[in-house]
């Protein structure tokens, strides 16, 4: 029951927290923090319980035998890593939105979101997976729509409709799998039993690709990222995009490896298109948050390339890059948000010389930026290099052409440093005090430590990948 409570309690109690303690925002914030800490501890506990390979069954609830519909909670190392990542990000997001407006409603929505996201990564029943997947949209819709920027309503509704429309295709795929194999539980589905694998695979792929997001289905993301407040952008990039990659690995690769191999070249093409297209668009941006958003899409393109190899090395690299992406893009978004808070502008032409005003903030921005372009001793380097190596192994040396991507990202990031961090102090920068709340700053420090720590000592993540992707030929 405790496991079930971890998911359903936040979902159903969030409203009560708001209704009862709405007038005491600090208490709501405390409850939110406590929830996320508890979830992190719980995930860490699960991590220690994991067997060497495969799933551990935590229980099955609300079973409807006639429909094979049960809230079956099963986790393997991949899902536990996602749980750890989500709860850690939620905790850091709470820290970095310490001084947000209308805090009671905001933190209640975060609590609701935490329950839904736990459900996404813990259940092995496809219908429940879908239900939690969809439920994550609801708090996000309000978080973008209420706390967002000028065009927040447009962005919120576009985000909601776009991602919802995508996921209905996924639901159809799940129904087809169930009617053909007789199981809603993805651990029981055998690929050979699926009668129309191509149809199912493409429905699933489009559903996950829009979340990832893959060119040409990415247009919701820049809007949502730009309008969302910075901490919500962190959740979007760090958790929601990961849901797309997680779904693709779970259902595309693990459930249907043969079909995935058959369509690997399409995945590769989509991945390359996304990485290049988003990278080139990032160069073109003058809006700092939009630049970070496109850089984020470009990195998710790399993840898709790694997934497309359908190999042990590729998926390990994909997992590393997913975690690296969360650690790298989050501080970039947060600092972009802080710059806006201080100067009132997102336009890079108004900026310059931030190093003189806020040296520590600038240092973290540069560190994260260098990690994004793949500087050694950061998570970005290990992620990109392993992706290059694994794709060369599968697709041959020609694929090394994607090293140009590093060049592109160097292009936009170094130019951004030039425009924002270094150079003469612009009048707008000079007039800003840059008083950053120490709690909000501490969240940035955690990200910086993570980037360097796993950049120097990546082995723990590869150990987890080894457990997760053993069936594809691990060691």
């Amino acid at each position: 029951m405790g496991y079930l409570g971890m998911i359903l309690a936040p979902i159903f109690l969030a409203v009560f927290v708001y209704a009862l303690f709405g007038h005491r925002p600090a208490l709501v914030r405390g409850i939110a923090l406590a929830t996320f800490v508890l979830q992190f501890v719980f995930s860490a506990h699960l991590f220690s319980q994991l067997p060497d390979t495969g799933f551990v069954l935590l229980g099955s609830f609300l079973a409807v035998d006639a429909f094979h519909f049960a809230l079956t909670l099963q986790v393997d190392s991949l899902s536990v890593v996602m749980l750890l990542l989500s709860s850690l990000l939620l905790f850091l997001v709470t820290l970095s939105s310490w001084t947000i407006e209308k805090p009671a409603a905001y933190f209640s929505l975060l609590i609701l979101f935490s329950g839904a996201i736990m459900g996404v990564f813990m259940t092995s029943n496809m219908l429940w997976f879908f239900m939690f997947w969809e439920l994550t949209l609801l708090p996000m819709f309000f978080l973008v729509g209420i706390w967002g920027g000028e065009r927040r309503i447009y962005a919120a509704i576009k985000f909601f409709l776009y991602t919802h429309a995508a996921s209905v295709l996924m639901l159809l795929a799940f129904f087809l799998v169930y009617t053909q194999t007789g199981f809603f539980d993805f651990t029981l589905v055998k690929e050979a039993a699926i009668a129309t694998p191509a149809l199912v695979w493409w429905l699933l792929f489009i559903g996950f690709a829009i979340k990832l997001p893959v060119f040409p289905f990415h247009t919701w993301l820049p809007d949502a990222h730009v309008e969302a407040p910075a901490p919500v952008s962190v959740l979007l990039a760090g958790v929601l995009l990961k849901m797309g990659a997680y779904g693709l690995i779970r259902f595309g690769i693990e459930m249907m490896p043969e079909t995935s191999r058959e369509f690997a070249l399409y995945m590769l093409a989509f991945g390359l298109l996304t990485a290049f297209f988003a990278g080139l668009l990032a160069i073109y941006q003058t809006h700092i948050k939009k630049m970070v958003a496109y850089s984020s899409i470009s990195h998710m393109g790399l993840v898709l390339i790694a997934i497309s190899t359908v190999s042990y090395e590729g998926l390990s690299a994909a997992l590393f890059e997913m975690l690296g992406h969360a650690a790298i893009i989050s501080p970039l978004f947060l600092i972009a948000g802080m710059i806006y808070q201080q100067t009132g502008s997102y336009q890079m032409r108004d900026m310059g010389g931030m190093m003189q005003q806020a040296p520590y903030l600038s240092a973290i921005f540069v560190l994260a930026g260098m990690a994004a372009l793949g500087m050694p001793a950061t998570m970005g380097f290990i992620g990109e290099v392993t992706i290059y190596l694994s794709s060369i192994k599968i697709y041959g040396a020609g694929i090394a052409v994607m090293a140009i991507l590093s060049l592109i990202s160097a292009g936009y990031l170094i130019w951004t440093f030039r425009r924002v961090i270094y150079g003469e102090c612009s009048p707008l920068m000079a007039s800003s005090a840059f008083k950053i709340n120490p709690i909000e700053f501490s969240a940035l420090l955690v990200f910086a430590v993570l980037i360097v720590l796993f950049g120097i000592y990546p082995q723990p993540i590869f150990d987890v990948a080894n457990q997760s992707f053993f069936m594809l030929g691990g060691h």
């Binding site: 409203v15 309000f142 159809l172 169930y178």
Partner: protein, 438 residues
Amino acid sequence: MSPFALLFGGALLSPLIQGGYWLKGLTLLLLTIAGYNIWLGEGVGLAFFAQTDAIRFFEGILVLVAAALVLHLDDTESGRLTQLLFIVAGSMALLESTTLLSFVISFEALSIISFVLVSNINSEKQAEGAIKLFFAGATSTGIVLLGLALFTLSGQSVDTPLAATQDSFVLVSLFIVLIGIFYKLTIFPMHAWAADSYAQVNHVDAAILSAVMKTVVALATFQLFSPLLTSLNQNMIIGLAILAVVTMTLGNLLALYQKNIAKMLAYSSIAHAGYMLIPFAAIASHDAPTAILYLAIAYLFMQTAVFLILDRLHKDQGIASVEDLKGLARKNPLYALLFSVQLFSLAGIPLLAGFLAKAVAFYAGVDAGLWPLVLIALLNSALSVAYYAWLVKQMYFDEAYNPQPIINKAGFVWSELILLAGTLYFGVVAVDVFRVAS
């Protein structure tokens, strides 16, 4: 004691009692006793009527929703209490009908009560809505009777349960009966009256017509006609599927353009009629009976709830157009929350009844081999999020024109909490519905 007799007798005697307050209490008491009797397993208790587990379960829920309706009504609306009792009794009769004859008689009775219901007229607009309903209802009756007459001509007995048949004359006559019934279900092209009527009559009446009547008729029709549906050939099934697709697409597209909330909900109701037709087309799946029951239960809770909230808002601040909703979250956070939850349920957002109901219905469609139909239905459902989210946007993201707060009203809040409990419970716990339907 038979809950049917209890409700029917209570309805006949209720005009004797003066004072709305007392009558409300007595009605609630009567509904409680009837609900208890239904729980004990009693139904109409006459020949040609029989109660299955699924029907008994639904009747229990119907009584609960009727209680919520009673709690919502003002003390001055005692006339509606009588009509409500008649409607619950008539619905029980329709749901339990086992033969074509008893079905047609109950169907007529229910139609006539609905005419009486909408004759609580206060304005010209309401009169227009009532007259439209009357004409559509009369046409529907005529067509049903035509079908019944043809059916008797075929030499079939009207007082035995329908059975699978390949006799095309019988099939045609029963199809004519179905077309008459489709008027009440607002299936394209018999839907046009509903958009106006639901929007123009009093909102409580609209709740009863669009939620109670529609679900009861859909469920009863499915019960009675399922043997017939299994004998339909592939082309006729595709015909039903096309009707479903056109109805839902038309309802959703037109709902997008509405500026009046009641009209938007009316078109959304037409779209939902399209979803309710999916189990009819998916009769080959053994999940179809569960699907129609689940859809009926979920729709009963959420549609009643949204029209009652609209009624409350209309009574308090004259809210009618979508723009009037602006800033409701600040004027009354509770009402805005209740409204949003039910709207999200209608939109099919998970952990709410609307999602699971649609999921089961859509699965039945896939199971019956109609996955293209289901794909269109899913895309429709995604499209419908646009207008439901638009209403939520007005409530939460916009500033109010008229910032005067709305004060909570106890009876209404209780009635909404009952309906909310249903929406949440059936959104998470599916096992009961599957148990009674199988």
